[in-house]
Symmetry: C2
Subunit: 208 residues, 2 copies
DNA sequence: ACGTGTCTTGACCATTTGATCAAGAATGAA
DNA sequence: TTCATTCTTGATCAAATGGTCAAGACACGT
C-alpha cells in the first residue's frame, strides 16, 4: 500500500480528532510554561491521553511544539494580509489594529506562544521570519509608502510603525498579568480599543 | 557572634565578588532560556564556578532567580520616576522614551528577563506589580492628566499611553530576533529613536 | 606560623522527564 | 466473522538536573 505523503496531515477520524486535541492542549501548556517548562505529561493529562499515546501521534516533544507553532503562525498573518491601499488609510489601519486586538483578546495563548518563541531567539521560526514574514512586511511597508506619497498620512517610518502596532496590540495579551495588576481584572476591551486607536493613529494626520 | 541581618548582602570580598559574578551570569542565562529552561550548571559554567560552589551562595535555583529579578526591577523604575510635570510634556516624555530605548539597547537581557516573567503570569513579582509599580503608574498618570488639564497635550488615556510606551520601547529588546530578521543586523538606534518618538508623540499635539 | 572560619569541590542522590517497546485492545474493510 | 491495520498503554530506560554532603583548600586576623 502506498503511504501517500511523508506527513499525512490526518488520515483516520481518530487521528485528526486526537491530533486536534493534542494541539489545543499543547498551545495552552506551551504558551503558559514555554517549551522547556512544559512537560509531555502535562499536555497528555490536559487532553486526556496517555503519554505514550501522545507520543504515538508526535514522536518527539519538539514535534508537538513546531506543529502548534506553525499552526499558529499561519493564522497570525491573515489580518496583516488584508491591509491594502484601499481608499482611506485610517479605515484600513483601524481595521487591522482592531482585528489584532481582538485576536490578542480571543486567543492570548497564541500570542504568548509566539512571544515566547521570539523572546528566546526564535530558534524554530527563523525561516518564517526571514521568508514569509519579511516578504509580507515589505509589501505592507510599500502600502504605507503609497499613502504617504499620496499625502494621505504624515511621513512616518513604515517598518517602525508596523512594529509599534504589533508591540502595542500584543502587549495586552503578552503582558496581561501586568496590565491586570495595574488596571484591575475588569479591563474594558472597548475602552482599550479606543485608546490604542487614538494613540497610534492620531499622529498620522497631516497638518493643515 | 552576631550574624548581623538575615541576609547580609555581602560580607567578604570574595562573597560580594562571586555573588556579582553569579548574578551577571544568571541574568544572561535566565533571560535567554527562562527560569525553567535555564540550568544551574549553565550559570555555574558561565561564571566559572562549580555547581556546588554556586549553591553555596544561593541555596536554591529559585533564590538566584528572584535575586537577579529583584536587582533588575529596582533599576527598571528609575526612568519613570524621573517623569515629572516640568514645563514641557514633549521634553519630559522624549526624555523618558529615549532613556527607555537606551536601556533596552544597553541591557536587553534585563528587558527579556522581565518580559519572560510577565509572560508566564508574573508568579514571582505579583507583589511588585500590585505595590510599587501600581503606585508609580498612578502617580505618573496624574502627571499626564495635569498636562491634559493644562491643555498642553491632547486628552489621551494616561494608563494606555504608558502601556504603549512600554510596549514599543521594550519591543526592540524583547523581540530583537524578529526585528533583526526583518530589518537586518545593522539597525540604526538613532533612526529607531526618531521613528519611535515620532510615532508615539506626534499624536499628542493639540489641534490648532 | 597558627588556627578558625570561609570557600571549594568531587562524588553522590532522588526526582523528573523525554522517549521506547512489546503486548494487548479497538477499528473497520472484506 | 475475519484479520490486517490502527490505536492504546503499563512498564521501563537513560539522561538531565536540582540539590546534598563530607572532606579538603584557602584566606586572613592574630
Amino acid at each position: 500500500m502506498m503511504k501517500s505523503k511523508a506527513k499525512p496531515a490526518a488520515k483516520t477520524r481518530i487521528q485528526s480528532q486526537n491530533q486536534d486535541l493534542i494541539l489545543k492542549a499543547a498551545l495552552d501548556v506551551f504558551s503558559t510554561y514555554g517549551f522547556r517548562g512544559a512537560t509531555v505529561d502535562q499536555i497528555a493529562n490536559k487532553c486526556g491521553l496517555s503519554k505514550p499515546n501522545l507520543l504515538y501521534y508526535f514522536r518527539r516533544k519538539e514535534d508537538i511544539y513546531t506543529a502548534v507553532l506553525e499552526h499558529t503562525l499561519t493564522e497570525w498573518l491573515i489580518p496583516l494580509r488584508l491591509l491594502e491601499v484601499g481608499n482611506d488609510p485610517i479605515t484600513e489601519l483601524t481595521h487591522y489594529i482592531v482585528t489584532k486586538l481582538e485576536m490578542s483578546e480571543r486567543n492570548p495563548a497564541a500570542s504568548r506562544l509566539f512571544a515566547n518563541e521570539i523572546l528566546h531567539g526564535a530558534p524554530h521560526i527563523k525561516k518564517f521570519l526571514n521568508g514569509p514574514l519579511k516578504d509580507l512586511i515589505e509589501a505592507k511597508a510599500a502600502v504605507i509608502r503609497t499613502w504617504i506619497a499620496a499625502g494621505k498620512i504624515r511621513p512616518i517610518d513604515p517598518h517602525h510603525f508596523i512594529f509599534s502596532i504589533w508591540a502595542v496590540t500584543q502587549h495586552y495579551a503578552d503582558f496581561a498579568a501586568q496590565v491586570e495588576a495595574l488596571m484591575g481584572p475588569n479591563l474594558d476591551p472597548h475602552k482599550t480599543r479606543n485608546a490604542v486607536l487614538d494613540i497610534l493613529l492620531n499622529g498620522l494626520k497631516v497638518k493643515l
